[in-house]
Amino acid sequence: MTAAEKRGAVRVLLAKVGLDGHDRGIKIVARALMDAGMEVIYTGLRSTPEAVVRAAVQEDVDVVGLSFLAGDHMILAPRVVAGLREHGRSDVRVVLGGVILKQDITALRSMGVAEVFVPGTPVERIVQFIANRQAQA
């Protein structure tokens, strides 16, 4: 059984990694996931990849969602993926949102990022993706 099935509700950790402080988008996603019945932990601004991994393991989450708007995703996102793997938690899906170019999306997927949501994505699609993928897991 996955963590989600044991508990019933999907647990999602959301974080702003890096120094950028724009959190309008991630807060909208947080509320939508909560409205859909998921348990959401938002670690706030300027979390380090190491702190995100630690919190994700401690809180035993199913999904980690990271928001990037300052172009530092290629350096910081892979560290979260690798950190989870080192802790034996590669089952935790990492999804990204923000200003991320197509060429980077391809590279991020190959590094193990489950999905990337770019500006203009309806929030409902993000909610469905996280809910559906959990059901399949």
């Binding site: 959190d23 530092d72 170019l101 309806p122």
Partner: protein
Amino acid sequence: MDDSYPELGKRLAHWQATAHGGKTSSAKNEPEHCTDSGIPVKALYTPLDLAANDYCEDVGFPGEFPYTRGVYPTMYRGQLWTMRQYAGFGSAEETNRRFRYLLERGSTGLSIAFDLPTQLGLDSDDPRSEGAVGRVGVAVDSLEDMETIFQGIPLDRVSTSMTINATAPVLLAMYIAVGEKQGVAQAKLTGTTQNDILKEFIARGTYIFPPEPSLKLALDIVEYCLRRVPRWNTMNIAGYHIREAGADAIQELAFTLGDAIAYIESARARGLEVDEFAPRLSYSLGCFRDLFEEVAKYRAARRLYARIMKDRFGAKDPRSHLFRTFSGSCGSTLVSQQPLNNVVRVAMHALMGILGGHQAIHTACWDEGYAIPSESAARLALRTQQVLAHESGLTRTVDPLAGSYYVEALTDEVERRAEEYLKQIDAMGGMLKAIESGFVAREIQESSLRYQKAVDSGEKVIVGLNRFQDTEEEAEPAVFEIDPQVEPRQRAKLAALKARRDARAVETILAKLAAAIERNENLMPLLIEAARSYASVGEITGVMRRAWGEYRNPVHL
């Protein structure tokens, strides 16, 4: 119904009864009949809507109290607005090259964007800076970088605008120190520090210390510059970022004025006279989607501010009454689907800014949703303003929308609703309390969610995104690549500086700074000394971090 227009009242009633079966007569609360901030809009406005509006009291003349029609008497007939485009480059050398290029072509105003580590008081070799050095602006670690940025640029010949907040006193101190080295007295320096830390807690997130010491630092600039750097614009109090965080037009205006009131009260608590420092304050508001509401917001802002300055603070110098503004395209209105449509949106932003009577206008680049704008997109953004300035006739008369029944009624309503917010904030004990209690964050969060839901449901149309989509896959525009060598080069430069400089002098000044913090002194004189000794931004800010601690905003979801 107002008695001053008996014939009009009858005719209007008749028109409403017959022309549209009464359906168009009154304000409706359906979303399609509301402004972007939710003010109900009627199908038709007449002089009856302005019955309570006294022209001389409420509208008046440009350059005269209450400045509804503009802060200067002749507005754009006398002088066009400043077309201020914002740019930042990875390294000090590149920034210097771009500045000299601009100056050789007749530009006199420079605008610096700093990278996030500089904005947050972290050196380029700090582990937290990795991936962010030189990315969203230029990296400045010490006076050495500032000297490079302004090499060959005499500081008494340019005006420099610095988008810097939490570390504004440190960067201003470095700028003053560069001037000294060039032989330019600080009294001759002109420019602006954004230095609006309260909106960082509300919206942009680039704060370091708790609100109280942060406010103290911001006011150190205000107080110091009063006598030493009298031509410096000490603060640019910004609603723009509050809007971008999801606030509506009313909240943007109310919270900007709430911040301004908090700064002015704190400055007075230090014993400064309002007429000494208020003329050096300037403002910034965003250009969003709703043309008439945005213009009403700018007009209401000027009037409300003038009244606050006069009635609440007893400001007597007319220059203290002026809500001088820099307005800019809200980047969040730009859409990456069918990105060329953004050219039209940006033209609308410029139109709002011009009809709103701003002193400076920034137009966004159509491709900036992807990355740092390309040169051709940056040129087009500037040309958009120039076409409107010179080909449209918009500048022939002052405040051309004045007297529109709709725009005047909307100006009154925006002012009324913003005043309501200000009363609420006063009742909470002021803006700092309203921010710390989470009130401001919650209000903005609710607006942000409402807007997102309206977009997701298609109730608010965004062309190319939720209507008139193209099915074909679009090519992304060419992207300006950031040199991956900027970060290692900057680290090496800092390491070399640290090896070369007089380490004992740095230690001494940092210890003096710590003592001055203990005594709650104005830190500017010591920050200038620290800059001269080549102490780094991270070292200087580190002393403050140890004294005040780092702050984390409570999260409101």
